[in-house]
Amino acid sequence: MNLKELYQEIILEHGKNPRNLLKIDDFNKDAKGHNPLCGDNVHVYLKLNGQRIVEDISFEGSGCAISMASASIMTDLIKGKNESEAKEIVEDFLGMIKENPELKSENLLEDEKTKLMCLSGVKQYPMRVKCATLSWHTLVSAFEDKTDLVKTEN
């Protein structure tokens, strides 16, 4: 176990000052996620254009440093990607948090991968994996117009 790996400076910084933490006015897709164990909530808003490119993305919610940082970094990385690229990034991220040693996505630049890998310390804390993944599951739900609340228990 290594706390320094979990709470890297970039995580603390994003946790304290999350990017895109607002409700964008002109969103056309959204979904809510909830972690019933700890009470964390997240609401992801997407503005998807005709070419299914994410023109804008934001989130609202409250949670621990890990969940806020994860949502913050996610929104930064997904902005400007098209739907299939975004979903591929989500898969890659979830795979990395679960078991893969590194990210394989060709839709991410090297420095984006480095940023995302800051969350890899969560792997060593099984109880905290849900904190890191809630916003990502919620993003997929928003793309797919699912109205059910995303629950990390499922």
Binding site: L3, L6, Y7, L12, C38, G39, D40, S62, C64, A65
Partner: protein, 405 residues
């Protein structure tokens, strides 16, 4: 037994947890188990096991006697009038569900009102919510004051002519407030209102006297009381347990079963359908004897000293904010730190071997009221020391350092 020696009776404290000595501050969630309880389970399964209350062979009779011995010990420990007022359940949750279900079946009527409080654990709210759904019963909430207490005056204020039942916690698992159960019961009974007490936090830490409290029902969680998991106790006044219908049907709870009619067994069998948590019941006798050997007055004095010490320590720690400040307080220290989420606090404390709980502690109503999504909670038991609370404070300072506060 000397309270200073108590910790040695708990084998878990001989273990290294992730290379640390264990500082266990999560007893409100579940307590650790003394060696006598652990050994008793092993001994029963190894040398004495049989099902109870059915067969006539030697082991069955002996096991039945052991099982009933615990019932007598519980009766003594909580000073119930009658041994048959003690019903074993699978937990306090089942005990509260049993009360809500059976009162719902045969006593409460559509339009009746139930009074609970904002301090209640979900297990003393959700079972009543079922009746709100099925019988159109209204649930009212007594509100906390600024110290996180529920006063007698507030209860009096919230009673209406339709109030038929008050269901309240003895000791809040979040603010630590101890409720004036005896006074509330006196008031309620003067208005023909039934009183149900969620004693999960009260039973392990307070002196219990059912005849003095005079409440109608009292639910106990054995695993919070230095006993095994999978076991709870419902105390119910005999007149209620006799009058109310059974909760679950099955073997052991019947008198006679015919194709066209069934009659039910007498107390306490009426409420103990199926094979019960036999080994747990038998081992729980050791938990009671263990508490009796220390003396509940000594337990209460020790824990009051700990909570006072911990409270002072945390009050002096900048940026730590304690939830509630009740005058009559049990061993629970819930807190928040501005700028650090409770889950981050719990993870960092865990790294130092300090086990606390983070979240809403099954009290979302209370956290909504306090306008916070979650809190961190350190709770004490008989094995804790002031040194444990110093370690808690040191570890909180480590959190602040990591988060650059």
């Amino acid at each position: 037994m000397n309270i200073d020696q108590v910790k040695k009776e708990f084998p878990i404290f001989d273990e290294k947890i992730q290379n640390n000595d264990l500082v266990y501050l999560d007893s409100a969630n579940s307590s650790q188990k003394p060696k006598v309880v652990i050994d008793r389970i092993n001994e029963f399964y190894t040398k004495q096991f049989s099902n109870v209350g059915r067969s006539v062979h030697y082991l069955a009779v002996a096991a039945t006697n052991l099982y009933e011995t615990t019932r007598t010990s519980v009766q003594r420990y909580i000073n119930a009038k009658d041994k048959n007022e003690i019903v074993f359940t699978k937990g306090a949750t089942e005990a509260l569900n049993l009360v809500a279900n059976t009162l719902g079946q045969s006593y409460l009527q559509e339009g009746d009102e139930i009074l609970i409080t904002e301090l209640e654990h979900h297990s003393n709210y959700v079972p009543w919510h079922f009746l709100r759904k099925s019988k159109n019963i209204k649930i009212n909430f007594a509100e906390i004051n600024q110290d996180g207490e529920i006063t007698l005056e507030e209860i009096e204020k919230k009673i209406t002519p339709k109030t038929k039942l008050i269901s309240i916690t003895h000791l809040s698992n979040v603010t630590g407030a101890i409720l004036p159960i005896k006074e509330i019961t006196q008031l309620a009974h003067s208005k023909d209102i039934i009183v149900v007490v969620d004693g999960c936090q009260g039973a392990p830490h307070l002196k219990l006297d059912m005849q003095d409290l005079d409440c109608d029902f009292y639910a106990i969680s054995c695993h919070k009381m230095y006993g095994p998991t999978g076991l709870g106790i419902l105390y119910g006044k005999k007149k209620w347990l006799e009058e109310l219908p059974p909760y679950q049907g099955g073997g052991g709870m019947i008198n006679e079963v015919k194709k066209d009619r069934i009659s039910y067994g007498d107390l306490p069998n009426k409420y103990e359908a199926g094979t019960m948590a036999t080994a747990q019941v038998i081992a729980f006798d050791q938990s009671i004897k263990f508490l009796e050997s220390i003396g509940i007055e000594n337990v209460m004095k020790h824990e009051a000293e700990l909570v006072e010490y911990g409270q002072e320590l945390l009050q002096k720690n900048n940026s730590v904010k304690l939830l509630g400040n009740p005058k009559d307080k049990g061993g629970v220290l819930s807190f928040t730190i501005e700028g650090i989420h409770p889950h981050d606090i719990a993870t960092i404390l865990d790294e130092d071997g300090v086990a606390i709980r983070a979240g809403h502690h099954c009290c979302q109503i209370l956290h909504d009221k306090l306008n916070i999504p979650a809190s961190a909670r350190a709770s004490v038991g008989i094995y804790n020391t002031k040194d444990d609370l110093d370690k808690l404070n040191d570890s909180i300072n480590n959190c602040k350092k990591i988060f650059n506060l």
